[in-house]
């Protein structure tokens, strides 16, 4: 009970700050917290990246294994994206099978990569109808201070960019890099008191009635969107968020993915 009261207090605090034109940590409404990206952090993975956005920290590892293609795409590789909200990362996370939050996180990241067609899956066929490369993108959340989607998407794309195909381990030959044709970037925003805030912190996520992730590509097109939580958003706010999302994505792409 005490905890719930604390939560209400924090929500009011964040809300009042925003009404006064401010954020907890002093940044502007459209500013990201400091982003740090480090790749090649996990030797056992074919590609990996550690992303920090403020105190939020996510580790992404990419593994490749030969496996069966889907029956309807016998000559294409397969992407499997998985997110674990391990209880190490937040007092709210509990051990156990994926819940709706981790499923959503994985599916939004997956959708952005898939929608952008960043990976040329047709180059991942080993033997048509029999064997293709399965790309496992595993998102391991280490510290949740909000905005996991942007951190996970950035980590996933950065990992894919450095991924080496482990041909040798499986006695195969072929190209050893993935053909990455686009660099989708996710930008998440929330609405609090009528204002749009980019890169919400954990407290801001709790204070927001709704949020939106816009994943966009090098050419400014959109390759994934997801609205969050139980508030409703006006049409023109959505249009504004899409605009901001595409612009911010460009900035992040230029700084971290080139």
């Amino acid at each position: 009970m005490g905890l719930e009261i604390m939560e209400d207090v924090r929500m009011d605090y964040v809300y009042n700050l925003v009404r006064g034109g401010k954020r907890e940590d002093g940044r502007g409404f459209l500013d990201y917290r400091e982003i740090k990206l480090e790749t090649g952090v996990i030797k056992r993975a074919e590609g990996s990246a550690r992303v920090k956005i403020g105190n939020t920290e996510v580790l992404v590892g990419v593994k490749l294994e030969p496996g069966e293609p889907f029956p309807d795409t016998p000559d294409k590789g397969v992407i499997i994206t998985n997110a674990e909200l391990v209880p190490l990362a937040s007092p709210e996370f509990e051990p156990g099978p994926p819940n709706e939050d981790s499923v959503q996180l994985a599916r939004v990241v997956d959708r952005g990569i898939r929608g952008s067609e960043a990976i040329d899956l047709s180059k991942l066929c080993i033997e048509e109808g029999e064997k293709v490369w399965i790309i496992f993108i595993d998102i391991h959340v280490l510290d949740n201070d909000g905005n996991l989607v942007d951190a996970a998407t950035l980590g996933a794309v950065a990992s894919l960019l450095e991924t080496r195909i482990p041909n040798e381990r499986y006695g195969l030959t072929g190209e050893d890099t993935l053909d990455i044709r686009d660099r989708p970037v996710a930008v998440t925003m929330v609405e609090i008191g009528g204002e749009i805030l980019v890169d919400p912190s954990y407290n801001e996520e709790n204070a927001a009635a709704s949020g939106l992730t816009v994943i966009s590509n090098e050419d400014g097109s959109i390759s994934g969107m997801q609205k969050y939580w139980s508030g409703s958003i006006e049409e023109d706010k959505i249009a504004e968020m899409v605009e901001i999302g595409i612009e911010k994505a460009g900035e992040i792409r230029r700084e971290f993915l080139e």
Binding site: Q104, M225, K227, S232, E234
Partner: protein, 238 residues
């Protein structure tokens, strides 16, 4: 994943003869189940969906109760025979995500604070699927909630738009969805003109997105009228 050579638009018409901004036929029946507190059968083209509402009722376990308001639960479930390849019973990742966004699509209109400590359960069964089941489910659930007498600010209406053969069109069917470039389901509160659910798959420009959003919102207004009509008919019967 477009099949080779398939053309989805010919002479300005879609394969099933629809125009770009045309919905598939819709059929709504209210109060179709006896045991449920509220229910609705909803057809959208070849999608056949049924929604039931139970509650407000006592919530178990107690520690999950909310002292200030009712807890809304939503379960989207596909019957094993609803799709071409039999679906294994039980929730998968797709249905977990759909259940979440559908619940969030409905929550803004429900006066949950009227029934603290209780739960309101919405169960949606997909009996036959042809792309668009999540939007059909939200439409059915919205009507079933009203049929159950759950106090609501308004109905929620839902539809998808997409992009096929380069054109932004309304309400994709399965062939279009499988061979199209993008799909975007939304839900809205028509009388407030606000969006309560929005997802996008595939690839669209900003302009296409904006066009699609308008198309979808207009279609929601039409669906809203059908939902209202079905409810009015039901109550005039009684």
């Amino acid at each position: 994943m477009k099949e080779d050579g398939i053309e989805l638009i010919k002479d300005g018409k879609r394969l099933d003869g629809r125009g770009f901004d045309e919905l598939r036929p819709i059929k709504i029946e209210v109060g179709v189940l006896k045991r449920a507190d509220g229910s609705c059968y909803f057809e959208l083209g070849d999608n056949k969906v049924i929604a039931a509402v139970y509650g407000p009722r006592e919530m178990h376990p107690r520690h999950a109760q909310d002292a200030k308001m009712a807890v809304l639960k939503y379960r989207y479930n596909m019957a094993p025979f609803s799709v071409e390849e039999r679906k294994r019973p039980g929730p998968d990742r797709r249905s977990v995500e759909i259940s979440k966004i559908s619940r969030e699509a409905l929550e803004p209109v429900i006066l949950k604070e009227y029934y603290p400590k209780t739960e309101i359960d919405v169960y949606v069964e997909i009996l036959q699927s042809d792309a668009g089941t999540r939007t059909a489910g939200i439409n059915a659930a919205s009507v079933a909630l009203a049929d159950a007498g759950i106090p609501m600010r308004d109905l929620v209406s839902s539809v998808a738009v997409g992009k096929i053969d380069g054109e932004v069109v309304l309400d994709l069917n399965a062939v279009e969805d499988n061979n199209g470039e993008a799909d975007m389901p939304i839900a809205m509160i028509v009388r407030r003109n606000t969006i309560t659910a929005l997802q996008m798959d595939g690839r669209m420009t900003k302009e296409e997105f904006e066009k699609g959003l308008k198309l979808a919102m207009n279609a929601c207004r039409r669906i809203y009228e059908l939902q209202r009509t079905a409810l009015i008919e039901r109550y005039s019967e009684m």
